[in-house]
């Protein structure tokens, strides 16, 4: 098991830059998520760690050893492909034992090892079946079996649940997480699904346009977004952005927006011009005393909560409130925000303004 350190990693395909100077550390035993929209460079990063692509520049350390230019067979890293890539001309047993055969392991040991892995994954009964007729979930398990059978230093997973049906994904996600907790293996997992990332990951790297936007625990990423992109990408519905023209002062614990003053976490920097007031829907409260007046446009009932769409002079926003609260479409109400959860952004750069809330986090952006 191993720690993986990525330093200034860069990958160009001709004129196109897939990954731009990324740096982050994956600690030993971590379930690490590479999250981002498609084309953001997350899969390229994963493939560089595994050795399927060679970086244009930068270093990758696996347990302190620089491996960025080594062939994949020398790295001792397992890879689970999105389409599983099970060898179609071999049965399940041969697929799982294939990495061991390459190491020249004696036949008897291979057999024991395969049986052990099949036991862990609950696939003993399909070992002698061809892989062609297997269900998606079983293919997934065989692909996992092929990965874990040789106790690699780390696992790379490229959207392994992407090819499964929705109902099956949930179950496999749980199985995967349970498997990880049992083996405690460093795992790097690529996904574009923010829910999956939040649900399974110990740490998340959010990438966009070849750049690492933020790196941290799911809670950090959700509560203390470093950029507007992260704030928008994570959470459903995503963070409300209220655009305004004004100024923020270092040391102040409030900001003035369109004539009213709102409490915010104590600011650590000055800013003025186009600013954005960011607030998560669940931190918007309907209150008659609220400084911001808004008209109710719609309400979606979700069982325990409801999502209310509101229109205010500072822009449209959504609020997640208790479903018992009765709200009529068309009425005007006042809005209040939980001051300690507010993040202010510079609209031009998209970066969060440093404050008491996000100190220590923004530095990664």
């Amino acid at each position: 098991m191993a720690e993986i350190v990525i330093k200034n990693l860069r990958k160009n395909f001709g004129d196109f830059t897939a990954v731009k100077e990324s740096s982050f550390t994956i600690e030993d035993g971590e379930f690490f998520m590479l999250l981002g929209p498609s084309g953001c460079g997350k899969t390229t990063t994963l493939r560089m760690i595994a050795g399927l692509e060679l970086p244009t520049s930068g270093e990758i350390y696996l347990d302190g050893e620089e491996i960025s230019q080594q062939p994949p067979s020398k790295r001792d890293i397992a890879f689970v492909f999105q389409m599983f890539a099970l060898y179609p001309h071999m049965n399940v047993r041969r697929n799982i034992s294939y990495p061991l055969v390459s190491q020249g392991m004696p036949k008897r040991d291979v057999k024991t090892k395969v049986a052990e892995v099949a036991g862990i994954l609950g696939i003993e009964d399909i070992l002698d079946r061809p892989v062609g007729g297997l269900s998606g979930g079983d293919r997934q398990r065989v692909a996992l079996g092929r990965a874990i059978v040789r106790d690699p230093k780390a696992f790379m997973m490229d959207e392994p649940l992407g090819a499964l049906d929705a109902e099956f994904r949930e179950r496999m996600a749980e199985e995967l997480r349970a498997l990880h907790d049992r083996m405690n293996a460093t795992t790097v997992y690529v996904t574009h699904d923010q829910l999956e990332a939040m649900q399974m990951g110990d740490k998340i790297v959010v990438m966009n346009n070849a750049v690492v936007e933020q790196f941290g625990t799911p809670q950090e990423i959700y509560d203390k977004p470093a950029t507007m992109f992260v704030a928008d990408f994570i959470g459903s519905p995503s963070m409300n952005f209220l655009h305004f023209n004004g100024a923020a002062h270092q040391g102040a614990a409030q900001v003035s927006m369109n004539g009213s003053s709102y409490a915010v976490p104590k600011l650590h920097q000055n800013a003025k011009g186009n600013l954005v007031f960011g607030v998560r829907p669940e931190h918007v409260k309907l209150s008659d005393q609220g400084a911001l007046r808004a008209k109710v446009l719609a309400s979606e009932y979700l069982g325990t909560t409801q999502i209310i769409t509101l229109e205010s002079e500072s822009g449209t926003l959504k609020a997640r409130v208790d479903s018992h609260q009765s709200v009529r479409v068309g009425e005007m109400i006042g809005l209040d925000f939980k001051p300690e959860t507010i993040t202010l952004f510079d609209a031009d750069s998209g970066n969060a303004l440093a404050s008491e809330l996000n100190k220590g986090v923004v530095a990664y952006g």
């Binding site: 595994a50 050795g51 399927l52 062939p71 994949p72 067979s73 890293i77 397992a78 890879f79 492909f81 389409m83 890539a85 099970l86 060898y87 179609p88 001309h89 294939y98 990495p99 390459s102 190491q103 092929r146 040789r150």
Partner: protein
Amino acid sequence: MTYSVTEPTKRQKWFAGTLVILYAIITILPLAWIMMTGFKTPPDSISYPPKVYFEPSLEGYVNLFTTRTRVSQETLENLPPPQNFAEEIVRNRGMVIAGPSKFGQRFLNSVIIGFGSTFLSIFLGTLAAYAFSRFKIPLADDLLFFILSTRMMPPIAVAIPIFLMYRKLGLSDTHLGMILLYTGVNISLAVWLLKGFIDEIPREYEEAALIDGYTRFQAFYKIVLPQAATGIASTAIFCLIFAWNEYAFAVLLTSGTAQTAPPFIPTIIGVGGLDWPAVAAGATIFLLPVMIFTILLRKHLLRGITFGAVRK
């Protein structure tokens, strides 16, 4: 009656079946005629109207494999009784067997040259197709076009330069010369067909093998080759059929040691009159290897020619 969109109706099935049978009859008829003629006696083979029912005889096959000399009636009577059926057949025509014909050796030449060039085309073609499919090759498209362009004229158009070149190089009438020539003609077909097949094999399989600890070359022959078996088999059949049936170059460049069966079979006609049964027997035997080869690989061939038509 239930109606189904995908399942053809009884009448449609019947119609399709009739068409297939008609087509089969049309294509099989000439082959059947050749095979039948091989078992006729020379008079039967040229009788008019043609005989459909006849007494089968092995005379064509005996004539194909032997050379014979005509002898006088006296000599014939003074000979010891015939040792085998072949001698008996020949003596009934007033002749004796002088020795074996060259057919066996010519047939062997066809086998060596046909299978040799097929093997070489597939071997080189697979490697080239893999490289074109997987690696970034400068000017890859132009190279592929160049390879294909060698098939844009009939090969016989360059017969004279090749004839002169082969004479200079000492390749005329050699097995190596013919193998190289047929490989040269077939390789463009092999590269293009195989590239299509290899393109369809997802790269993930090789990448999985690389991750599993195999080298690039091991990944190629342990993972890619078995996956490409269908393509290789059907390409091999096409290459073999060309090399096996090729006539023009064979006539031009071979006359003795390396002569293949196609230019040899017509020469039988000249020996002792129009010996159609012997020609037909030669054609029948000549058909067999390709037929056997195709039957052995027919599963692959069927999958091969419909390959890419439907995405799995």
